[in-house]
Amino acid sequence: MAKSVAPGRPNQFLRNLNSKIACIPMMLTALVIFLGGTVWTVIYSFTNSKLLPRATFVGFDQYERLWAASRWIISIQNLAIYGVLCLIFSLLIGFVLAALMDQKIRFENTFRTIFLYPFALSFIVTGLVWQWVLNPEYGVQGVVRSLGWESFTFDPLYTPEIVIYGILIAGLWQGTGLVMCLMLAGLRGIDEDIWKAARVDGIPMWKTYIFIVIPMMRPVFITTLVLIASGIVKLYDLVVAQTSGGPGNASEVPAKYVYDYMFQAQNLGQGFAASTMMLLTVAIIVVPWAYLEFGGRKRV
């Protein structure tokens, strides 16, 4: 390699040996679990594995069965509705709250503590609380009716058509605090002089936000978007706690489909196929982002 390698050059493998030893768990995780596990699941999604994984390949059979299953179609529809609305409302509410918080208000810490505490709670706790708050007999609907408005109907958790919105309310309650925090950090990262310049130029505040500040916060928005989106695909515990997928299977989601087929219906092939579809969904979200974020930049 080098033309005049000095004598006593240590073995390249032994160099930095401690560092390599320290990284063994990390390397194993990356290679065996993240890479190996994913590849394994994708491969076995083309088999007819039932109770145990079997390497009998059946082509796209599992996928055909998957897309023929009404439960999977409902899961996908639910995820789409939940995903789109959750993205829109998280960003909207998160940004508006952050913008309000950024007005040099009093009690900023108190407000932040209040908006963010649900994020510390698990989805199980979130789901169970909102199951109770939305209880048709004693919850919001019951209270409004007892106030005299007898015909008032707000019963998302027991109405198949709108059950996913009931879950959305709980999901937003849990997650918007985080979005607010990220947005607030983004707003705080904007140079004070931008505001001064806009003020001197006499630009109204709302225009400054829309035309100057939001475009400047593009990286924060994109990171938040990817974060929310990859969280949405994992949506599972909330549904389990709040509705157990019901009524009927009106609030099923893909992650629950995977779990049920893998560990309860003992139909591993279906579970693998469904989880591969989840992987594909995430790839559609993450790959363009990763390309934009890291692909354009050259590493030294």
Partner: protein, 320 residues
């Protein structure tokens, strides 16, 4: 609009700089001095109104939980969920902690609580130890391929758990530790690794490189620099990582369900089984007490840690 005092300061500055201007302004009958502040301006009503409403939305479920858990069942059936308890009773709490049933076990959530503690402590310690050492190696002792492994790790953080969960079941089964505490600790270490490694790598990389060089000149090796130089300098980031892991592992449901057996279920799983069990009469007050008990640990962590929690999730969310 953003700050009136800035404007006052600016005009004061102009006054000070140019005496001519000052003379003119004193001849002028127009406004001068500090702008009067109105507490109840339309802007403030609007601002605090919206924030207050939002705060109400976020606080309401917590309030409902507390109130419900302190009522007796007859009162719940009569009244509405928002009214404060007429007669405060702690019986639902006692029942939730010590008597609530899951399946055949009727020793309450306490079993889940102690299971969670047994899972939490080793998982937090091991995952942070492993990740901090890898982060340190990645920041200061790069070797050929180290960045590649790290990239795989970070990309892996976006892969849905469902994709990797079955291969892990197989591996743990082959190792004979499926369903054991050791197995679950390994799982938590694996899935905590991307975010924690990133956190530590970025933190160690932000420390002055010359410090590391100085320690090498002084003859310290990999582990000595880690233990005697880096670790004592990085206590805040270890606290952040701990907050992240304590809340994350305590709140976990999926791994608990997949990788433990009914008698070692963590608190979240047991809570869900208690509340969503189909048998028997629903005891909403006990359910809410149980829910509060399960949420108590992360909530306490959250309220005690305050700003560090924000820093932790921000570090977890935005790459350094």
């Amino acid at each position: 609009m953003s700050d009136t005092s800035t404007l006052n300061a600016t005009t004061a500055g102009i006054d000070a700089m140019s005496p001519e201007l000052k003379v003119r302004s004193s001849l002028n009958p127009g406004p001068r001095g500090r702008r009067p502040k109105r507490v109840l301006s339309r802007r403030n009503i609007f601002l605090y109104g919206i924030l207050g409403l939002a705060a109400l939305y976020y606080l309401l479920p917590l309030y409902v939980m507390v109130v419900t858990s302190l009522k007796g069942m007859p009162e719940i059936r009569l009244g509405n969920i928002f009214s404060p308890p007429v007669e405060i009773t702690f019986e639902p709490w006692v029942k939730a902690w010590a008597q609530a049933c899951t399946g055949l076990n009727c020793d309450g959530l306490s079993r889940g609580f102690w299971n969670s503690v047994r899972i939490l402590v080793p998982s937090v310690v091991v995952s942070i130890l492993v990740a901090s050492v890898s982060g340190y190696a990645l920041a200061n002792w790069r070797f050929k391929g180290s960045e590649l492994f790290f990239s795989i790790l970070i990309v892996g953080a976006f892969i849905p758990y469902q994709v990797m969960i079955y291969p892990i079941v197989i591996i743990l089964r082959e190792l004979g530790i499926y369903g054991t505490l050791t197995g679950l600790v390994i799982v938590h270490t694996i899935f905590g690794m991307p975010i924690l490694t990133l956190l530590f790598r970025n933190y160690f990389a932000s420390l002055p490189e010359e410090l590391f060089k100085a320690a090498r000149i002084d003859g310290a090796g990999f582990w000595q620099i880690y233990g005697r130089i880096m670790l004592p300098m990085s206590l805040p980031i270890f606290v952040v990582a701990m907050i992240l892991q304590v809340t994350g592992i305590w709140n976990d449901f999926l791994f608990g369900v997949v990788f433990t057996r009914p008698d070692t279920y963590p608190m979240t799983v047991q809570l869900n089984n208690i509340v969503n069990s189909v048998q028997g009469v629903k005891e909403y007050n006990v359910n809410m007490a149980a829910t509060l008990l399960t949420g108590a640990v992360p909530l306490i962590v959250y309220f005690v840690s305050g700003r560090l929690f924000v820093r932790g999730i921000a570090a977890g969310a935005v790459k350094g």
